[in-house]
Amino acid sequence: MPYIPHSDTDRKAMLERIGVGSVADLFQDVPERVRFPNLDLPAALSEMGARWELESLAEANLTAGEASCFLGAGAYHHFVPAVVDALVSRGEFYSSYTPYQAEVSQGTLQSIFEYQTMICELTGMDVSNASHYDGATSTAEAVITAINVHRMRRKKAVISRFVHPEYREVIRAYTQGLDMTILDTAGEPEDIRGALDEETACLIVQYPDFLGRIEDLSPLAAAAEAVGALFVVVADPTALGLLRPPGEFGADLVTGEGQGLGLGLNFGGPYLGFFAARQKYVRKIAGRLVGQTVDTNGERGFVMTLTTREQHIRRERAISNICTNQGLMALAATVYMAALGKCGLRTVAELCYHKAHYAAAQIDGLDGFSVVRDKPFFKEFVVRCPMPVAEINEQLLRGYVIIGGYDLGEEYPELEDHMLLCVTEMNPRQEIDLLVSALKEVTS
């Protein structure tokens, strides 16, 4: 037993000190009826055996590295420098708990403080918390923040239908007991403006939106402000390497998925929900906050602060039940942002932009395909296809080892036979050209 150190001698000596005859005697409080069940589980493996089993399971999957991946829709195939995993793999970081004891947790606390600063910088906001579970839960927490800012007097959230469909589902799940109205049928700015009223606690839009499109959000910010609703922007952090930050448009809260910041795809998790706010909402937001202070020698140090908002003090009156953040994922994102730095993140964003536009232009030239170009786009774009998306994807996979785009028809009936393609810095020109020729072949 590699993880349990006790020898027989140890056990006997310990039992003697406790004053019981056997380990089983320690469980007298457990009803006899259910005590010591026989668990129907496979027998233990050696480390070698476990490795073989896990390696064979891993090999049974097709990775985005083996294939050419053009799938995005909320999880992105971006490059992760080796330095990220090297640093988050340090046991002092990953085997520690939440930094409740600040004096022996300065590594975690300072790195969160650095993370908070970088997220503020990226989003153009005043404050950032230490993170949430993912982009969707971060956005659900924004809805709860908004109704708290309005002291529960407004319980309507207007959400653009071009916010990620799963984010909208998560918001519904989170608020199902709170007697709220979630309105997510409007998509175009004029329809969204029409849905706002004096009951609206917040307006949520995505930037770039789920279809990859970008636009000046100032008019929507103004419309939200006019009715006293909080303006919440769900942003792609990679896009913010290039694009104007939501803070400049007048966002009150900015949330989003931090997975693209050095976390890898990981079959959907663990990811990172970032959450930034204007200063005036700092006491109304959920999640951990790390603040700067001094120790008794006057040296700079960091502590968790404003903890009275949290569940372990407020209990049933807490803003949220959250008690962890995504500590290690926030650290990975911090290392990633520091590694890429001022210029690197912009370079990644520009590579995505130019490659996506090259791919779009090539595909637009194919018979039967057309790229929807109603607004500028960043790294994802919508393609109208001459046959069902599922059929195209199946042939791309079988014939060319290409992971094709997201089928939009299910969530957006008007976009039947429309595919959402994503191109990043991970797609060299040959892969894009292969996709274009494959699309041509499978539809001819």
């Binding site: 990953y94 790195s111 950032s128 590694a339």
Partner: protein, 493 residues
């Protein structure tokens, strides 16, 4: 001694990343939508590595030393788990890939669901919740949905013991329900008379009860079957907070005890690292009556796509699901680690985890109880709660916080302090099964030495820690003069 911030070692023009050249023609950028500046740090890879290596050295982890943080189960994090979770065949999968291309990953999830069902005694498990608190929220929403589905819409009262974790009442409020606190009896368990009276009073409105067993005093709830029975009798459901599941591995299954729904903490019980506060993972198990309400998707065998001897694993939404509580399928990377752990231990190994977690806690309790007051002196489970330092020491104004800070000077991480709220000056100690006898004895020795120091010169404790990377930090100043980010101007001035 404080370290510079990454921004303070930044110099214009440095960059730690090497990115490919553009290999396609440029397209005009949308000028009106471009940002002016992005003030991220500029450092070389060498500087970056040294900076975060230094920061890591200012941190204390299980890999560094003994971490008896009560209620947190800081057990050893096996290295094979980390290696397996980093296999490219797991890390480099897109969640929306064709399910045919991720059968290995879906098999792993399906099998982990089955393992957890067997270990907890539940019909169905959903792996989706991201952490214990989210598993709790999911469980509470499921209980609400169950009553609503039956047309029993007046039910909106949840019972929570006064010893509960703060997340229990917070999850209840977030679900739009009302919390009624149930007092503890003198043995540290739920006061059954008070519970029965509350059941009668709230009969028509009772959603159910949230119970941690063993409770936050580390005591097994002897009347757990009676508690479940009375709540069920009044139409309520029993929620199990699985934070303290470690001592029950192979010892008792919560489903067998009468719980209807339970969250597991893979980051406590199943050895996945806490990561400095996440990622956790909080799967939820449900009885047959509640299984249809689980959050999803979960993994099932799809008979239509299966061939003989070759089952096809598919993602599936439970019929009356409360919905998705996060995007995609949960913290898959954490599942790989928990799966590896369960495969390495097998059924006998898991039972030994439960047994030795309890043996270690009782041994350490014996070593300390003569010196530190122990409010409930009975056999404990995985942890125990002391009522601070001895009375004469407390009278010299030496408190639990002082003992905690002084422990750092002895090279130990402090226990959980001031929780549970029902014990004054609480010191909550959970050694876990992975600590050896000598470590427990060295820790006990330090605890006794600290009391001796306090009697000799209380100021040694008031000034502690002396050996940690920083001295005691001013939390009042941090809260009054909020500084939540680095600002270039202030630091140049």
């Amino acid at each position: 001694m404080s370290r510079p911030l990454i921004f303070e070692i930044s110099r214009p023009g440095r960059c730690a990343a090497s990115l490919p050249d553009l290999d396609v023609p440029r397209t005009e950028l949308p000028e009106e939508l471009l940002r002016d500046d992005l003030a991220l740090p500029e450092v070389s890879e060498g500087d970056l590595v040294r900076h975060y290596t230094h920061l890591s050295q200012m941190n204390y982890g299980v890999d560094t030393g003994f971490y008896p943080l009560g209620s947190c189960t800081m057990k050893h994090n096996p290295k094979i788990n980390e290696a397996m979770a980093r296999l490219p065949g797991f890390t480099n999968l897109h969640p929306y890939q064709d399910q045919e291309t991720v059968q290995g990953a879906l098999f792993l999830m399906h099998t982990l669901q089955a393992f957890l069902e067997e270990i907890g005694g539940f019909a169905t498990v959903s792996l989706q919740p991201a952490a214990g608190a989210q598993g709790e929220l999911a469980g509470v929403l499921m209980m609400r949905a169950y009553h609503q589905e039956r047309g029993d819409t007046a039910r909106n009262v949840m019972f929570v013991p006064d010893s509960a974790h703060g997340t229990n009442p917070a999850s209840t409020s977030m679900s739009g329900m009302e919390v009624v606190e149930i007092p503890s009896n003198q043995h540290g368990g739920v006061d059954l008379d008070a519970l029965t009276a509350a059941c009668q009073q709230h009969h028509e409105r009772l959603v159910g009860m949230m119970l941690t067993n063993p409770n936050t005093l580390g005591l097994f709830e002897r009347q757990v079957e009676e508690i479940c029975a009375v709540v069920h009798e009044h139409g309520g459901l029993m929620y199990g907070d699985g934070a303290n599941l470690n001592p029950l591995l192979g010892i008792a299954r919560p489903g067998d005890l009468g719980f209807d729904v339970l969250h597991y903490n893979l980051h406590k019980t199943f050895s996945t690292p806490h990561g400095g506060g996440g990622p956790g993972s909080g799967p939820v198990g449900a009885s047959p009556a509640l299984a249809d309400f689980l959050p999803g998707p979960i993994v099932k065998v799809d008979p239509d796509r299966s061939e003989e001897d070759l089952p096809f694993y598919a993602l599936w939404m439970p019929t009356h699901t409360i919905g998705r509580v996060k995007t995609f399928y949960g913290h898959f990377g954490v599942f790989v680690k928990a799966y590896t752990y369960i495969r390495m231990l097998g059924p006998e190994g898991l039972r030994r985890v439960g047994e030795y977690a309890v043996l270690n806690a009782n041994y350490l309790k014996e070593l300390l109880k003569g010196t530190y007051p122990l409010p409930h002196d009975r056999v404990c489970m995985h942890e125990f709660v002391l009522a601070g330092p001895p009375k004469d020491v407390q009278e010299a104004d030496v408190r639990t916080m002082d003992v905690a800070k002084r422990l750092m000077d002895y090279g130990f991480h402090p226990p959980t302090v001031y929780f549970p709220l029902i014990v004054d000056e609480a010191l909550m100690i959970e050694p876990t099964e992975t600590e050896n006898k000598e470590t427990l004895e060295a820790f006990a020795e330090a605890m006794l030495q600290i009391v001796a120091e306090a009697r000799d010169d209380p100021d040694i404790l008031h000034d502690a820690p002396l050996q940690a990377p920083v001295r005691r930090l001013d939390e009042v100043r941090a809260a009054r003069d909020l500084i939540l980010r680095w600002q270039p101007e202030e630091n140049e001035a």
